[in-house]
């Protein structure tokens, strides 16, 4: 389980996170939702120790993140984290060299799934294919938790569909996923838990299934209630 406990973060004098707390379970897809600038990406970066916090604590399976945690959790940001002159093959070689949890079989499967040419140079890829390579490099790691920042942002409809299909496949099964997205419609039916953020705080944390079953509300209905009241 990923536990985010009362985290606070300032950029200059502006307080972005004012005590955010939530949990994300293994085997569940948790979605962070909020308007731009609310701190969704900052939360993901903080979980990966890519930005310092002013207060609060983040635990992964009960322990603070350390170097060993990166074999257990991965972050797929919205920008590519490989060198542009590399080919997809070279990027996979890099991952294989540095991560013991790299699963080449799964990487090959993802190459086929996304119909990517491994000899393509990363700098020559379209935005959609770049996002797919980013996903490939993250999902081919045998990790327990995957953090995804806006995987659908700015890419075409067909690529969005392909990426959304990943969420229903075995590639995600049994892993804990935290995702931030604006394109809620693409994956609404797949979400287990939703964390709504506003003004640096969690305004609502709820089970998507419970909202559907008990109240007959979709995630978008709940969002309307929270953000438009």
């Amino acid at each position: 389980m990923i536990e985010v406990k009362e985290i606070e973060k300032r950029y200059g004098r502006k307080k972005i996170l004012k005590g955010v707390s939530f949990t994300a379970e293994k085997g569940e897809i948790t979605c962070l939702i909020g308007i731009n600038g609310v701190g969704k990406t900052t939360i993901l970066k903080a979980i990966m120790a890519l930005t310092p916090l002013h207060k609060g604590q983040i635990l992964i399976d009960g322990k603070p993140i350390d170097k060993h945690s990166f074999e257990k959790i991965t972050f797929i940001p919205d920008s590519l984290t490989m060198l542009p002159h590399m080919t997809i093959n070279e990027a996979m070689e890099f991952m294989k060299d540095f991560y013991t949890c790299w699963n080449q079989k799964r990487a090959n499967e993802l190459l086929g799934f996304f119909r990517l040419d491994p000899s393509s140079r990363i700098s020559s890829l379209s935005k959609g294919n770049t996002a797919k390579v980013n996903l490939l490099l993250g999902l081919a790691l045998d990790v327990d938790y995957v953090l995804m920042d806006e995987p659908f942002s700015g890419i075409d409809m067909f690529s969005r569909e392909e990426i959304a299909n990943v969420f229903t496949s075995h590639l995600i099964e049994n892993r804990g996923v935290i995702i931030t997205t604006h394109e809620i419609g693409d994956i609404e039916h797949l979400l287990d838990k939703v964390v709504l953020l506003d003004d640096g705080l969690v305004t609502k944390e709820f089970s998507a299934e419970a909202a559907r079953e008990n109240e007959g509300k979709s995630v978008i209905d709940v969002m309307r209630e929270v953000y438009q009241k």
């Binding site: 890519l50 990166f70 991965t74 984290t81 990363i122």
Partner: protein
Amino acid sequence: MKKYLQLVNFEFNRIVKLFTVLLGITFVAQMIGVVVQSRSYLNLANEKMYKEMMPQAEFLESFGQMSFLQIAKSSWFFGPIALCVAGVAFYIFFIWYRDWIGKNTFIYRLLMLPTSRLNIFFAKITTILLMTFGFVAVQLIMIPIEIMVLKAMVPNEFRLDLGVMEVVTSIPELTLIFPSSIMEFIFNYGLGLLAVSVLFTGILFERSYKWKGILAGLLYGALAVVVLLLPLLLHEFVLNNFFYPIELLVLEIIMGLLVLSASIWVSGFLLKKKVTV
């Protein structure tokens, strides 16, 4: 250790193009220098001896023999060396900032590797050292080749042959790059390593605290200089030449190790706890 070596290999492969280009420029420019300087000397000899009918002995007395020193003191020789020094100096900053700038933020990947983040610091500093020693080693190989070309171009009687060591020790600027004793080597390159480690720490301060970090980096740099010079300052201004030279040397080495350790510790702390992507 394995991850550190893999990172060094990876970082070095990233500079190999720039490294090769700079070596190529150095080789070509210095070779042109050998040819240009030798020809200009031979042209002068031809002009004086065949047009003005100056006897060979008088020519040699007036203008001296041609030696490699004339080439080594020219900009054809020093220009590319300065370019390589500038290349290394530029790379000290670029080796960090290139991972943050541009569309592909590679720093995400580096910081998420399942290894100590200090290994990134060590790999980058090792790459700078490898680059520096690479230039020095190749320059040491180039000089004898250039001397051979000089020998092939200028006849024996007009030439004063010098060995590589004689060339190096005759030019003070070159002794900085090619120290003639172990102590000089430790002093020159130790100081260089310290400077790079302090600069790296300054860069990481900037990457962690932005504008405030620049100030923190400058203060850290100033503090490092003061700590390093402390024994010398005390010796000179407070203790009235209290130390023997050997004691002063030992104190300086201790201070150098202190600054190096502090830079490593602070950089490790910043990379682990404070750096922001």
